[in-house]
Symmetry: C2
C-alpha cells in the first residue's frame, strides 16, 4: 500500500458517468527480451506477492515450489536463487521437477538479516536436444542431431573455459567429426553405418557429458520471478522461533518485604530463572513513573503518598523513555544485569510502551507530538466513557512526524546500546502501522539480531498485519482458547494457515493483564496443564511469574481478568523462590523447559498435528523434527479437577515408528507405555499429573 499524490476530494458519484467516446488505452511496451521463453508462476511461499517478507530463522530450510514451463516441447531448467540483501550475486541450487509443472528446491540462509530469493528459469537447449535424441530412430535424423549436439557442446565449452572447457571442446569435436564422416556413407554401406550411428548416439547421450555440459547452461534468455531483486525473506536468529519467556516486575524482586526491588535484586533472581529453563527475562518498563494522575493500588484513581504507580505511565522529572527509575538503580546497574543474565544464557527483554505520563519531559519539549483539546489541555487517552488521564498518547498525525519517528527509534537504539536485543512492544496496534514497518526495518538493517514481540491482543486482521510489518513474534489468543475444539482449531490455523510464513506465535497462559477465569482459584493441575499446552503447542511461550509458578489465581473481583493487588500498581513480596517450594510448580516448569530444549520437535510449529481422542477433555497432538523423526506426542487432561480416561488414535507411521508397536516414554514421569498404531488407552489424574509428554521410540530401542 502506498500513498499517491493527493486526489482532489469530491463526493461519490451518484450517477453513472458516460464513458469517454475514445479512451485510447496506452499501447503495451515490448518486453526487454522477447527471446526469453521460460515461464515462472506461483512461487511459494510468498506473503502478498512480496509486499511483505516470508520469515525464517538461520539454518531453517526455506522450501520453495514454483510452476515452471515453456511453450512447446522444449525442456526447461530452474534454479532457486537466494542472497543477503545487498550481496552482488545469487547463491543458487537446481530445482527438481515434481510433475505437473511443479518444481521444488530448498535453501537455508546462514545469517540473520534481510534476504531475497527468487526462481530463475530458462529453456535449456542442451536438455531439449538430449531428450529428443533419446527418442530418435531414423539414421539421418540421428546424425543431424549429433551435429546439432556438437554445436551445443562447443558453446558450453566456450562458457566453461579452463579444463572443463577443453574437455567439452574435445567431446564436441569427436561428435561432429564422427557424425560428419558417417553421413558421407552410401546407402550400400547402411549396415556398418547403422552400428556407427548407434555408437554416436551413445556417445552423445553419455551421462558424464550431460553432467558436464549441464554445469554451463546458456542463460542469456533466462527469466527471474518477481523482477531482478526477487522476493523478501526476513531471517532471524533462532530465538525468534524458539524462546521461553519469563516476565517479572523488578520492583517486587526484593527479598525483604516492603523494600523497592532493584536491578541487583533481579540479578540475584537470575539463577532461579535459569534453573527453570527460561532464556528470555522480560521486564515491564523500567523508566521514571509519572506523578501527575498516578494510579493507586488496584488501579484506584488517587494514589497515596508512597504509592509506586504503574510502570506504563512513563516519564517524570527524572526523565523519560531513555532513563531508569532511580529506585531500580542506575543505567550501569542495568548493564550489569544484562551481562549477568547473558552469562546464564538469559536475554533481558525490555518493554517498549510509546506513551507518556503528563510529566514526561517530551510533553514540555515537544508539545507538537500530542493532540490538544479546544481548552488547550493535552488530549489524554480515552475510549469513551473510559478515560486514562495518566496517559498521553502520541499524535501520529503530527506534522512533525519525522522527528517523532526518529525520537522513538532513538529509544530502541539507546537500549540496544545497553545490550538489549529483544523488545516486547506494548500495544503496537494503537500506534501508526507505517511507523512499525519503518522502525523495525531501520533497526534490523543495523542490528539484524534484534527481535520484537508484538503485544497486540486485538482483532485477527490487525494482529496479522503487525506480524507482516516485521514483528518477530506475536502474542496469541491462547489465553482464551480452553476447550479441545478451540485449541485444535486455533493452533492448526497458527501452524498451517496463511500466517504460518510470517506470524510466529508466543503463547502465554497468563500476563499481568490477563488472569483468565480458568485460573481463578484453580488447582495446581490447571496451572500445570495450561503450561504444558503452551510449552508444547507453541515453540515460543512465556509466563508471568512469580504469580504463575506460585499458583496465584485471585482476581481483583469476580469475573475480572485483573489480578488482585496487581504488581502493575504496587509492590508485592514473593519471598525466597526456589524449584523446591511446596506451593510452587517451578520444578515442574524446569522439567518441561528441559524437555523443550532436548527435543527439536518442540522447537518449531511446522509439524503440529492433532490426533483424535474419545474424550473431549483429552487433547492429543504431536510434533516431529525437520527430518520427520523423533516425534513428541502430548496428551493433556484439560479438566482441572477430574480424572479423565479415553482412547487416543495415533498414526504410528507419521510418528516415525512404522509397523507394530512402539514405546511411548513419558518425559515428565519417566514411565514407559507399550503403544501401537491406532487407539491407545490413556488415564490422566489431575492431582498426580495432568499430562503425558511422550517421546516416541522404536520397541527395539526401548
Amino acid at each position: 500500500m502506498t500513498t499517491p499524490p493527493p486526489t482532489p476530494d469530491r463526493p461519490p458519484r451518484r450517477r453513472r458517468a458516460a464513458p469517454p467516446a475514445t479512451a485510447a488505452a496506452p499501447l503495451p511496451p515490448l518486453p526487454a527480451d522477447g527471446q526469453a521463453r521460460a515461464v515462472i508462476d506461483a512461487v511459494l511461499p510468498q506473503v502478498d506477492a512480496g509486499r511483505f517478507a516470508v520469515k525464517r530463522v538461520v539454518d531453517e530450510p526455506l522450501e520453495v515450489t514454483a510452476h515452471v514451463f515453456t511453450d512447446g516441447h522444449d525442456k526447461v531448467r530452474a534454479r532457486l536463487c537466494w542472497r543477503r540483501a545487498g550481496e552482488p550475486a545469487w547463491r543458487e541450487t537446481e530445482m527438481q521437477p515434481q510433475g505437473n509443472d511443479v518444481w521444488t528446491a530448498a535453501c537455508a540462509p546462514d545469517a540473520p538479516g534481510p534476504w531475497r530469493y527468487t526462481v530463475c528459469a530458462w529453456v535449456d537447449h542442451f536438455d531439449s536436444w538430449r531428450a529428443e535424441l533419446l527418442r530418435r530412430v531414423d539414421l539421418a535424423d540421428i546424425l543431424l542431431a549429433a551435429r546439432v549436439g556438437a554445436e551445443l557442446v562447443q558453446q558450453a565449452a566456450g562458457r566453461a573455459g579452463g579444463e572443463d572447457g577443453a574437455r567439452l571442446a574435445s567431446l564436441a569435436d569427436n561428435l561432429r567429426s564422427r557424425a560428419e564422416a558417417a553421413s558421407r556413407a552410401t546407402i550400400a554401406e547402411i549396415e556398418s553405418v547403422s552400428l556407427e550411428v548407434e555408437a554416436i548416439k551413445q556417445l552423445a547421450l553419455a551421462e558424464d557429458l550431460a553432467e558436464l555440459a549441464g554445469r554451463y547452461p546458456d542463460r542469456r534468455h533466462a527469466c527471474w520471478y518477481a523482477g531482478p531483486d526477487g522476493l523478501p525473506l526476513a531471517v532471524d536468529r533462532p530465538r525468534a522461533a524458539f524462546s521461553t519467556w519469563y516476565e517479572m516486575f523488578p520492583r517486587s524482586a526484593a527479598l525483604e518485604e516492603g523494600r523497592h526491588g532493584t536491578f541487583r535484586d533481579v540479578q540475584a533472581r537470575l539463577p532461579y530463572v535459569a534453573a527453570m529453563g527460561f532464556d528470555v527475562l522480560y521486564l515491564p518498563p523500567i523508566h521514571p513513573i509519572g506523578r501527575s494522575r498516578r494510579k493507586g493500588p488496584n488501579n484506584t484513581l488517587i494514589a497515596r503518598e508512597g504509592d509506586v504507580g504503574s510502570p506504563w505511565a512513563i516519564g517524570a522529572e527524572e526523565g523519560g523513555h531513555k532513563d531508569v527509575l532511580p529506585a531500580l538503580g542506575t543505567l550501569a546497574d542495568f548493564r550489569d544485569l544484562v551481562g549477568a543474565a547473558n552469562a546464564l544464557g538469559i536475554e533481558i527483554a525490555l518493554d517498549i510502551a510509546f506513551q507518556c505520563a503528563p510529566d514526561h519531559p517530551w510533553v514540555r519539549q515537544h508539545p507538537q507530538w500530542f493532540r490538544r483539546r479546544p481548552d488547550g489541555s493535552v488530549q489524554y487517552a480515552e475510549n469513551p466513557p473510559k478515560k486514562y488521564q495518566d496517559i498521553y498518547p502520541f499524535d501520529f498525525e503530527t506534522e512533525d512526524w519525522r522527528a517523532l519517528w526518529a525520537a522513538l527509534k532513538d529509544v530502541f537504539d539507546h537500549w540496544i546500546a545497553q545490550g538489549v536485543r529483544i523488545f516486547r512492544v506494548d500495544n503496537p496496534h494503537t500506534k501508526a502501522f507505517a511507523f512499525w514497518e519503518w522502525v523495525i526495518a531501520a533497526i534490523k538493517a543495523e542490528h539484524p539480531d534484534v527481535l520484537f514481540l508484538a503485544e497486540a491482543f486485538t482483532r485477527p486482521k490487525v494482529m496479522h498485519r503487525l506480524a507482516k510489518l516485521g514483528f518477530s513474534q506475536s502474542y496469541t489468543y491462547f489465553t482464551w482458547r480452553n476447550s479441545r475444539h478451540e485449541l485444535m482449531e486455533y493452533f492448526t490455523e497458527l501452524a498451517h494457515g496463511p500466517g504460518a510464513d510470517y506470524y510466529r506465535p508466543n503463547a502465554w497462559p497468563n500476563t499481568p493483564d490477563i488472569l483468565n477465569e480458568h485460573l481463578h482459584h484453580g488447582p495446581r493441575s490447571i496451572f500445570m496443564a495450561r503450561l504444558v499446552l503452551a510449552a508444547t503447542l507453541s515453540a515460543s511461550y512465556g509466563i508471568y511469574g512469580p504469580p504463575y509458578e506460585l499458583l496465584q489465581g485471585e482476581p481483583r473481583e469476580r469475573g475480572s481478568e485483573e489480578y488482585l493487588d496487581s504488581e502493575k500498581y504496587q509492590l508485592r513480596h514473593w519471598g525466597e523462590l526456589s524449584l523446591e517450594r511446596a506451593d510452587s510448580i517451578a520444578g515442574f516448569i524446569a522439567t518441561v523447559n528441559r524437555i523443550r530444549k532436548e527435543y527439536p520437535a518442540l522447537q518449531s510449529n511446522r509439524s503440529l498435528r492433532f490426533f483424535d481422542t474419545s474424550n473431549p477433555y483429552l487433547v492429543a497432538y504431536a510434533k516431529r523434527d525437520a527430518d520427520g523423526r523423533n516425534a513428541v506426542l502430548t496428551v493433556v487432561n484439560i479438566d482441572a479437577t477430574f480424572t479423565q480416561t479415553g482412547w487416543v488414535q495415533v498414526d504410528a507411521g507419521w510418528l516415525g515408528v512404522d509397523g507394530g508397536g512402539f514405546v511411548a516414554r513419558d518425559l515428565l514421569t519417566g514411565q514407559c507405555f507399550d503403544w501401537r498404531d491406532g487407539g491407545n488407552f490413556v488415564i490422566l489424574v489431575p492431582s498426580q499429573m495432568p499430562a503425558h509428554v511422550l517421546a516416541i521410540e522404536r520397541s527395539d530401542a526401548a
Copy 2:
C-alpha cells in the same frame, strides 16, 4: 516475471559460502506520508497481486472485499475506486463494513477495455468524533467534544464550498457558540445546563449533519491499495462470457457433391446456423494451403492430384496469413460473408495458426524467422519420433523477434480491418508466452472489443497461464470429462476455483481434432446429453458441425479421436441442412440455445451448484441469475443407452422458492412437475429425452 540484466553464468555452489562479515543492509526510506494511518489489506479479487488482470464483462458486477482498519479506536472509511485506463479521475463508491474489518462494495464497468480498480481508505476524524460523542456522558466532555466537532464541521465546510459549504459553516457556528456559552455556566446552573448540553449533543449527532459532512471527507492522508494506479481489470463485451459457437469448414459448404465450397456457400448456410441459435461462426484457416509435403485424405503422407490439403498448412505461392485461398473466393467475398453474418446476429471467428507451410512466402522472405538444421534445411515441426514435414514453426528465439512479432500482430490487424472481432488461436502454447501477453494487450488497446479463444489442450498450469496472459476464453477438458464425479469436480473448479476470475471456459463436445470415444457410434441420446451438459454447465460452448448435429461418430480407426474421412484433409458433402432433417438434432440444438438466451442464469458460471442424486448416471446442477432468482435446474442422464431413475436432492431456498412445493417446468418438453425442497424422483429415458432443463417457478405462479 521480468528479465534482469544477465547474471554471469556459473555452476551452482556446492559448498556454503561464509556470510560476509558486515553485510550492511540498506536503511529503509521514510514513507512519503507518515501521517497516513489507514491500512488496506487482502483486496479481492486479484490475480497474482495485480500482475495479471481480473476479467469481467461490461455491466457485470465486480464485487470487491478488503480488510480495512487503522490503529487505535479511530474510525476508517473506505471507497472502491475504478476507472478506465488513462482516465484522470477515479469513479468511487463507499465500501460497507461487514464486521471483522472486512469491507465490501461493487462496481460495474460500463465499457470494454482495460480498467483499473483500487481501494482508498482514510482515518475519518468526523466519524471518529461522532462515534465517541455517542458514548460520552460527562457534561464538560460533551461540551469540549462539541467544540472539537464544530471545528471538524468548519473544515468540511471549507472543502465543500458552495451551498453545502454555507450550510455546514452555519451548523459549525451554531454548535461552537452554544457549546462555548454553555461551558461558561457555573456549577450552580448545572441543572439547566444539563438540558442545554443534551440539546447540543443531539444537534451534533444529527443524521443530516453526518450525511452532509460525510460527503466532504478529509482525505489528505488517504491510502490507496497497490499504489496510485491500483490493480488491472480487463473488461470485455458480453460475448466474452456468453457465446454459442458453431465451427464449420467452408470448403465443405457446397450443396453439390464434389464442388469446393466458397464463402458464398457459407453465406447461404447462415440462416441455418442462425436458426440453431449460434452467435459465433468459427472457420478453420481460410488461407492458401501449401503444396509441398501436402497431406492426403485421412492424413496420409502423399497427396494425390486434386487433394485439397490441410487448411492449417498455411501459405503457398498465392500468399500467406493475410490472403485467401482462391478456391474459397475473394477478400471481398469474405467481407460480404462477415456483413451477412452480422446482419443475422452472428460473428465470424477466424482461426489464427501461426505456422507456415514450406511454400509460405515468409519462408523465402524472412529466413531468419525459422530455425535451420546443420544441413541448411529449415527445421520442420517434430516431436520425435513424430515428424510434421509440412509445417515450419516460427523460431521465437530469433534475433529478429521484434519484426516477427510485428508481422504476426499485423495478421490480426489485417483481419480486424476486414471486420473480424473474434479469433480462435491455434495451439498458443507452442508459441512464446510473452508474445501473447504483448500482442493481445496491443490489439485490445486499439480494439477493446476483440476476443481471443485459446485452443490449448495441454497441461493445467499452461492453460491457466494463457488465460492470465489475456485470452478471453479457453478451451477445456470437458470432452474428456464424462462421469458424474469428473463433471462435478471439473466444473466446480472452473466456476469457483482460483481461475474463476480470469479463466473463461468454452466447452466443446467435439472438435475436428477430438471425437471422444463416448461419441463413437453413439446413439442420438449421447449427442443430445453431451450438448445439454456443455450448454448448461458452461456459459460459452460450441460444436463442430455438421458432423455433430448429423450424429457422425465414426473414428478413423478404433480408439482414435480422429474422424474418419476428416474434413481436415478432404472435402465432405453434407447435403441440404435444416432443423427438420430426421438424421439431425439441429432442432433440439435450436431449443437448447433458445433456452440459453431466455434464461440469464445460464449466461454465467458464477452461481453453478451441483446437487446430490441417488444414481451416478444422473447429474444434477443449477444456476441462478445475479439476483439469486430465476434458477434453471438441469438433470442429465449420462448413460447413453438405458433409462435411469433416481432422487435429486434440491435446496429450494437456494433455488429461490422458499417454503413448500414449487413447479419445475421442463423447458425442453414443456412438461410441468410438482417438486419440493429435498428429494424429487426423476426418470429419464434416453430414447425420448436424456435431460430435464427445468425452470424453477413458484407454485402460485404456475
